[in-house]
Amino acid sequence: MAIDCLVLGAGQEVGKSCMVVSINGKRIMFDCGMHMGYTDSRRYPDFSLISKTGDFDNALTCVIVTHFHLDHIGALPYFTEVCGYKGPIYMTYPTKALAPLMLEDYRKNMDRRGEDEQFTSDHIAECMKKVIPVNLKQTVQVDKDLQIRAYYAGHVIGAAMFYAKVGDAAMVYTGDYNMTPDRHLGAAQIDRLQLDLLITESTYATTIRDSRYGREREFLKAVHNCVAAGGKVLIPTFALGRAQELCILLEDYWERMNLKVPIYFSAGLTIQANMYYKMLINWTSQKIKETYATHNAFDFKNVRNFDRSLINAPGPCVLFATPGMIVGGFSLEVFMQWAPSENNLVTLPGYCVAGTIGHKLMSGKPAKIDLDKDTQINVRCQIHQLSFSPHTDAKGIMDLVKFLSPKHAILVHGEKPKMATLKERIQSELGIQCYCPANNETVTIPSTHYVKADASGTFIRSCLNPNFKFSTCSSTDKSYLDSNKSKAVSRLSVSDDRATEGILVVEKGKKAKVIHQDEFLHRLGEKKHEIQFAYCFPMHMARTEDLSSTSHMLCSFDKCTLISRLSMILSDELSEGNILDLGEELQVESFRVSVCSSDNCPHRLSSSLQNGSESVFFCCHWSVADEKLAWKIISIMKNSTL
């Protein structure tokens, strides 16, 4: 059987994560995201590739969403309400709680941009009703065969890596994850699992990051310098996650430095979001969790709600505004007002998808940004890029892949050239087959299928029998650790390779069973047949005196001499096998050779002796198991002279 992975999004790019995996007959969609860089049909995954008829309920077993970021969940209401998928959807409790906020915030911004509405408020509510919340590590039986389990991913609150198992085939889809703990979240955690496939994000496929404390200091210094000079700080973020983390950081700093500059949350980024965070405190880091009874870390003291009239109010301030990456909405509105002054600062936390203004600001400092053909923004303000991001770095990805040691790995959610570098590393350093497919490509990998079999008593006993092999190795023994001087030692080595032979019997309606071959015959009520080969052929003989006259019957003494001569020849030429000289017969494993005295031997192919040379017939017998060995010996015999 095989695992088929159809990449509907985030293949060699970041945005609209969506992956449909068929695993032992079950079809799971991991994430259902949207692309923030597009406003046309490219913004959603191409769902028609899942089912041409649009019958998604039968085409998919379930949908799993790893976290509430729009590039992972943005297309879900569209998929369920507009495309009509009605099957089960799984996400963690925080994701289910917070996703509607994100979607609603996005929908409102879309409205403001004058785009045609893809889904409504009701769609979001209806969609969320279909969601089955799961807890971390809870083993969920989706149906009789499919088992899924969430593991802490540490990327945002409620972010999870999902493990899925059908029969013996198992896989993990990481979603986005972070291997180092941050201000409010812990690091990703997963059990050592046996996996056929790991699908991992690779946002920072080649970056190695240093300690985050240095970067935090840098950020605080930049903000402090700006407000001290009377400037305004704009931090465009999405409603949840990064905003709360930076806010904890700023709160702490404000307290310590006794700053009075106001910190604002724009509408959408609400105090209401903090209500959710307070109830979901069990999903944050250990340090914050411990304080829930006395002071909830999400009770921010210095934070106030922002009003549009405050945009051009004098005096310094810090503003968290949605949406992130400055894709439009309020953050764009404020950016247009504040960007022309060099006193102001724009801090871009985390990743910006290509095509957004955030991305333009990050990739070099442009003096002017064309918004559309009529509008142009002069950018004179300072730009600070916050280099801490809740994604793991290259080291973290390598650590996770090494820890899980899957049979195959697929990279998604990254930039093509960097992914190729990481893919090479995974293949060369870890020896794991790795792929980074593009969108709408399918990767097929083999899956595991175990058959559980009982073993019969006789078979088990036969396993216990030693299988000694004696061989003389006369060549120089390299395995001697201390033998620098290559010494030709001839010694007997004993090996005990217990290759046990048995027969796997699968009867209809019964459990598979491994039995010993003797039992098998008994069970079938048949007799054992053995295939024996026989061959009689002449061998050249040197003319010697002691063989007095030709065409005489060879006496038994002569036979013994011949056999012992043959034995010498063979022991010189033959490397394997144990040559036994039994007087009138020579035996190597099942191969036996003796001098043939009958003129009408049935195994003789050419009856006449060759002219001009003295020959003697040898008759050989062997069983099918030693066929190779037999022909080797025969060729040695034919090419040599007694």
Binding site: K96, N135, K137, Y276, K278, I281, A293
Partner: protein, 541 residues
């Protein structure tokens, strides 16, 4: 496989305790404390009244009145000891491999085991039960401190009441509690563990989430499934190489607060240990044979699926939870009548879920009237417990989870505390309480045994007020519990709450689960003497 019932327990606060040997591992199921036996002790006195000492005169005098009715002076006047499961101390704790805890109540005796030398068992508890259980133990220790301070650091090595001379003079009712019906339970009494023991115990606990797989020793896969009784309570499945076992503790199909009884998770196990004895406490006509083992007649396989859905639907019909809600409503109206008459209401109920629901309903009722009656919660752990209940949506019933998704607090008490309608204090003598105190009022406080905690002081204070109301959970012997506070003018409302699977739902449940074997302990089955244990053991091979 070998199964030994150590104790059938008694009610919600004292769950059953069993020992199970499977695949060569010894598994202890729950480790509770019998706190109802605290009733033999006298509560902490108001002032140092001259209490008669056990000199010879009084012994004689007491002997004379043995046959008379019990009065408050008969109670044991000493620092209380605690009664553990009667034959557990006869087992070597170091031989236990695994301990499975099904409820916070089932872990109260745990520190006695974990502090023994060579204890090495792996303890599995659900995250929520562990936290609540820890708080309950800490509260117990802190309430006990009060009594300890009163009696002083007495040399407890040889207790008067435990000596034969002491025991002889005790009234037969108390003697029965101390010694058990067969005079073999004296060894089960222990002085309470310390706060350090509790901390140490919690360090050895491995917490799980519902349906999380724990693999013990690479052999047993252990999983907890919600039982619906309380927040964090669970049933267990143990999957071994030869046998799949489900252990069913007291369970409630539809809960008003905790996550519902997940009986579908227990499907596919060939052996079920049925340990919900809640109905045994109330019904009497049970078979009298010692063990009851009856392979459930398997119906035709064809109609299974249809049946299962039907059965599941009938099991989940929430007539029981409706009944429970009505009970709570009735309690609230009784309380309301009392406060309206100028009396106060004392609620020493220690069932977290019931308390949380009562808080919501009671404040709703008070709000709808013009009465300004404060609600006080007095307990050393109340603040933390209340905060905790609001951060565990994953452990609650569907309706509560919906509150998370709509961004409201899980329980109303958060809002009520903020609005200063509910006040939380750590102790009766805390300064804030004294400055805030206002009567009439409604007070929730521990402990239901009426021997420990703030309830003792408040009950003494109100017991002569005919307008006040005491709301008690009906137990075995409310008479004995109320003895030290008699004569009482205060009204007493005794109520029983649903604490397990009702009898008529057992049969359909088993039909849904389709076990090959069912193992349960019925009325009259007692392990009498550990030396003859094998007689009562249930062995299956």
């Amino acid at each position: 496989m070998k199964f030994t019932c150590l104790s059938k327990g008694g009610g919600f606060h004292f769950p059953p305790c069993h020992m199970l040997s499977v695949s060569g591992f010894r598994i202890l199921l729950d480790c509770p404390l019998d706190l109802s036996s605290l009733a033999i002790f006298s509560p902490v006195p108001i002032a140092l009244e001259a209490h008669e000492s056990l000199d010879t005169d009084s012994v004689v005098r007491k002997k004379q009145k043995i046959e008379k009715t019990l009065d408050a002076n008969d109670l044991v006047f000493a620092e209380p000891w605690y009664k553990t499961v009667k034959s557990l101390h006869l087992w070597d704790a170091s031989f236990i491999d695994v301990i499975l805890i099904s409820s916070p109540m089932g872990m109260l005796g745990l520190p006695f085991l974990t502090r023994t030398k060579d204890f090495s068992a792996k303890i599995y508890v659900t995250e929520a039960a562990a936290r609540i259980g820890q708080l309950m133990m800490e509260d117990l220790v802190s309430m006990h401190m009060e009594l300890r301070q009163f009696y002083g650091p007495e040399d407890s090595a040889f207790l008067q009441w435990m000596r034969w001379e002491g025991l002889e003079v005790l009234p037969s009712e108390l003697k029965k509690i101390i010694l058990g019906t067969d005079c073999e339970e004296l060894g089960a009494w222990m002085p309470l563990y310390s706060a350090v023991d509790v901390k140490d115990c919690m360090r050895k606990v491995q917490t799980l989430k519902y349906a999380e797989e724990a693999c013990y020793n690479g052999t047993l896969v252990i999983k907890a499934f919600s039982s619906g009784l309380e927040i964090g309570t669970c049933n267990w499945t143990i999957n071994g190489p030869k046998r799949n076992i489900a252990y069913i503790s007291s369970s409630i199909f539809v809960s008003t607060h905790a996550m519902d009884f997940n009986f579908l998770g227990l499907q596919g196990n060939d052996l079920i240990i049925f340990s919900d004895f809640s109905t045994l406490d109330t019904t009497e006509n049970m078979e009298n044979d010692n063990t009851y083992c009856d392979p459930v007649t398997s119906s035709n396989a064809s109609d299974d699926l249809y049946n299962l859905e039907e059965i599941a639907a009938s099991l989940l019909k929430d007539d029981e939870s409706m009944e429970e809600m009505e009970k709570l409503a009735f309690i609230c109206t009784c309380a309301f009548d009392s406060v309206r008459a100028g009396g106060s209401v004392l609620v020493p109920i220690d069932r977290l879920g019931i308390v949380l629901c009562l808080l919501e309903q009671m404040s709703l009722l008070l709000e709808s009237s013009s009465l300004k009656v404060p609600i006080y919660i007095i307990s050393s752990v109340a603040e933390e417990l209340l905060a905790f209940t609001n951060i565990i949506p994953e452990w609650l019933c569907k309706q509560r989870q919906e509150k998370l998704f709509s961004g409201e607090p899980l329980f109303a008490h958060v809002k009520l505390i903020k609005e200063r309608k509910i006040h939380v204090f750590p102790a009766v003598h805390s300064v804030q309480l004294l400055t805030n105190w206002q009567e009439p009022c409604v007070v929730f406080c521990p402990h239901w045994s009426l021997r420990l905690g703030p309830v003792v002081h408040l009950l003494r204070y109100w017991c002569s007020d005919p307008n006040s109301l005491l709301i008690l959970e009906s137990g075995d012997d409310a008479n004995l519990a109320l003895l030290p506070f008699k004569p009482m003018a205060m009204k007493v409302l005794q109520c029983s709450f649903l604490s397990g699977i009702s009898l008529q739902k057992v049969q359909p449940l088993l039909k849904a689960l389709q076990p090959k074997l069912l193992l349960t302990v019925s009325e009259g089955f007692e392990v009498q003497d550990p030396n003859f244990r094998s007689k009562h053991d249930y062995s299956l091979l």
